[in-house]
């Protein structure tokens, strides 16, 4: 393997990792504020992608303009999901998996009905051009996505760390009851988290659709990746999600360089299995008596 190939793979991995971090943020935020595991996460991203595709075909606009539209389109779903999640019974994590497993089925079938047939891609020429950077040839779309991801993670990090809203969200994540006793409006913090997470997912979907083909069942893999990242980063910290995302991106590109692209899905599944086993009790701490 030549040094350029390796360098190329690492840079591509970092770019991919930035995208992964952005992709996983919504999952991680909802997880930390509600303890719920949202298995529809990837489906929502795919849905955002389809909406973006549909608008792009209809309008011919630059895909970047469609990002906010797709983000806004998912907001009603955020309210619906929040309504459902509020009603989950104990054991909450397991119930949330059951609920969202069902919702996932529903979303996938809905998308299959609306966009049957071939796979779809937002093949905008504005994004497919390549850029030369220090001897490496990179895809402009990927660079753009990585830049957006950095900007989003950065602003979220600042907002969480330095605003009233961020304090409320962090307090709600740590201990909901205690936060409520301290006069923090936990319901509002939860709702804004859902809205933000869903908006992020919708927007990410459009970006995803500029890089990858969409298929109604393609969300599962994104969900698995988001879970891996959330476990790696420990829920809720924007910065560590970014770190975990970059690590995952680099690990993935290097593994694929070695194994060939066809084993990609296998590697994602193994990564989740391995992570769960290695961090046994990390996702759901064992009760200690």
């Amino acid at each position: 393997m030549s040094p350029t190939t390796l360098a190329h793979a690492i840079v591509a991995g970092v770019l991919l990792g930035c995208f992964y971090a952005l992709m996983a943020l919504g999952f991680s935020m909802i997880r930390s504020v509600t303890r719920a595991l949202n298995l529809t996460h990837g489906d929502l991203i795919i849905l955002g992608g389809y909406l973006g595709y549909w608008l792009w075909i209809g309008s011919g606009l630059h895909p970047l303009f469609l990002v906010p539209v797709a983000a806004a389109a998912l907001l009603p779903l955020a309210l619906g999901w929040q309504w459902l999640f509020q009603r989950l019974r104990e054991p909450k994590e397991l119930s949330s998996l059951v609920l969202t497993f069902g919702l996932s089925l529903f979303l996938q079938n809905g998308m299959l009905a609306l966009w049957p047939g071939e796979y779809r891609l937002i093949a905008s020429e504005a994004l497919t051009a390549s850029v030369s950077l220090g001897g490496l040839t990179l895809n402009r779309g990927r660079l753009l996505v990585a830049g957006l991801a950095l900007a989003a993670v950065g602003s979220l990090h600042v907002a969480l760390g330095h605003s009233r809203w961020g304090r409320a969200v962090r307090a709600t994540s740590v201990d909901r009851e205690a936060a409520a006793l301290l006069g923090i409006n936990v319901d509002q913090a939860t709702q804004s988290t859902f809205l933000l997470a869903f908006a992020l997912s919708g927007g990410v979907g459009v970006l995803f659709a500029t890089l990858h083909y969409l298929s109604p069942s393609g969300g599962a893999e994104l969900t698995l990746l988001a879970i891996v990242l959330t476990i790696w980063s420990g829920a809720g910290h924007a910065r560590s999600v970014l770190g975990a995302g970059i690590l995952l991106g680099v690990v993935e590109t290097l593994t694929l360089l070695w194994s060939g692209p066809r084993w990609r899905e296998l590697i994602v599944a193994l990564m989740l299995l391995g992570t769960l086993l290695a961090r046994a009790g990390g996702l759901v701490p064992r009760r200690s008596r």
Binding site: V98, I227, L270, L276, L283, V284
Partner: protein, 317 residues
């Protein structure tokens, strides 16, 4: 079981036995009900594991292993019966392997691990072209021998497959009924309720859990093997489909986890309702009942999944 329940069960059983002649050996209805019966088998084997407190999100792994195992064996010249049995063994082995994870993981973590495990097998089937035929899968799987009665051309040979599916469901129900009255059932109930306490009373949890995994995987894989010999093709997205993980969970939780007949009843009911009443009219939404059933279970089952796992054993020593 109360008397009314016994009578109702008997009547449903009788109706299922008599359905082929009563329906005039209608191939479509026989195919439909056979598939419903296979889902009944799947939901009941899911339930065996749930009885031990282990919630699986990955039964597609066992269906798929059974399907591919049986298909490959059949294509290599084994008789379909032996091939299906072999597939069952493969599914059982696959289940025991992921069962080992239950020594370290529980609840939501284990559920996610099973989900990833099914995804892993799907990815293997999808890409190991040399053996599995990759995404295109395998075709030309021999049909099951048809019943000579009333004559193969009347039912398109479906009567045989129908009775096999019925027998498979009956066998898994018999096994589960046996478990409920045995040491295994006692151990599994104790593990489900309080694994730590069970350990203090002399129950070594892991071997019992592995046994539950193995039995559950075996019957799921038999259903998978029978299924591929009915449709006569096998593809990754067909047998490792998320549906084979979701539907047994829906059906069993909706029908009542830990009850003997609930999951099978719910499987038949939900599947037939969806296929007969929704598929023809609103094909896009024919899976709506499953999604709704899950939402109801997650939100309105009193006490959530937790209570669904409660079942009183009545003291038979």
């Amino acid at each position: 079981m109360p008397r009314g329940g016994l009578i109702a069960t008997g009547l449903v059983g009788l109706a299922l036995i008599l359905l082929p002649p009563l329906s005039g050996f209608h191939p479509y209805y026989l195919y439909l009900v056979s598939t419903g019966l296979l889902f009944g088998t799947l939901a009941t084997s899911w339930n065996i594991l749930a009885y031990a407190g282990q919630v699986s999100f990955g039964h597609a792994a066992f269906v798929g292993l059974g399907g591919y195992g049986a298909a490959l064996a059949s294509l290599h010249g084994l008789s379909p019966w032996a091939a299906i049995a072999l597939g069952g063994g493969l599914g059982a082995a696959g289940a025991v392997i992921i069962g080992l994870a239950s020594g370290r993981l529980q609840g939501a973590s284990l559920a996610l691990a099973t989900l990833a495990y099914a995804e892993m097998w799907r990815a293997i089937a999808q890409n190991w072209d040399e053996v599995t035929g990759g995404g295109a899968g395998l075709i030309g799987i021999p049909a099951l021998p048809t019943l000579p009665w009333p004559s193969p051309d009347v039912s398109g040979g479906r009567a045989g497959g129908y009775y096999l599916s019925l027998a498979l469901l009956a066998s898994v129900l018999a096994v589960f009924a046996g478990i409920l009255r045995s040491r295994l059932g006692l151990a599994l109930a104790a593990i489900r309720e309080e694994e730590e306490r069970a350990g203090l009373l002399g129950v070594h949890p892991l071997p019992w859990k592995l046994l539950a995994f193995g039995l559950s995987g075996f019957w799921s894989a038999l259903a998978g093997g029978l299924y591929v010999h009915t449709v006569r093709v096998v593809e990754p997205d067909l047998v490792f489909s998320l549906h084979f993980s979701i539907l047994p969970l829906v059906m069993a939780t909706f029908g009542g986890v830990g009850t003997l007949l609930g999951p099978a009843g719910a499987a038949l009911g939900l599947y037939l309702a969806s296929e007969l009443f929704l598929h023809p009219y609103v094909p896009a939404f024919h899976q709506l009942p499953y999604a709704l059933a899950l939402i109801v279970v997650a939100l309105y089952a009193p006490g959530g999944l937790g209570t669904l796992f409660r079942r009183r054993r009545h003291g038979a020593a």
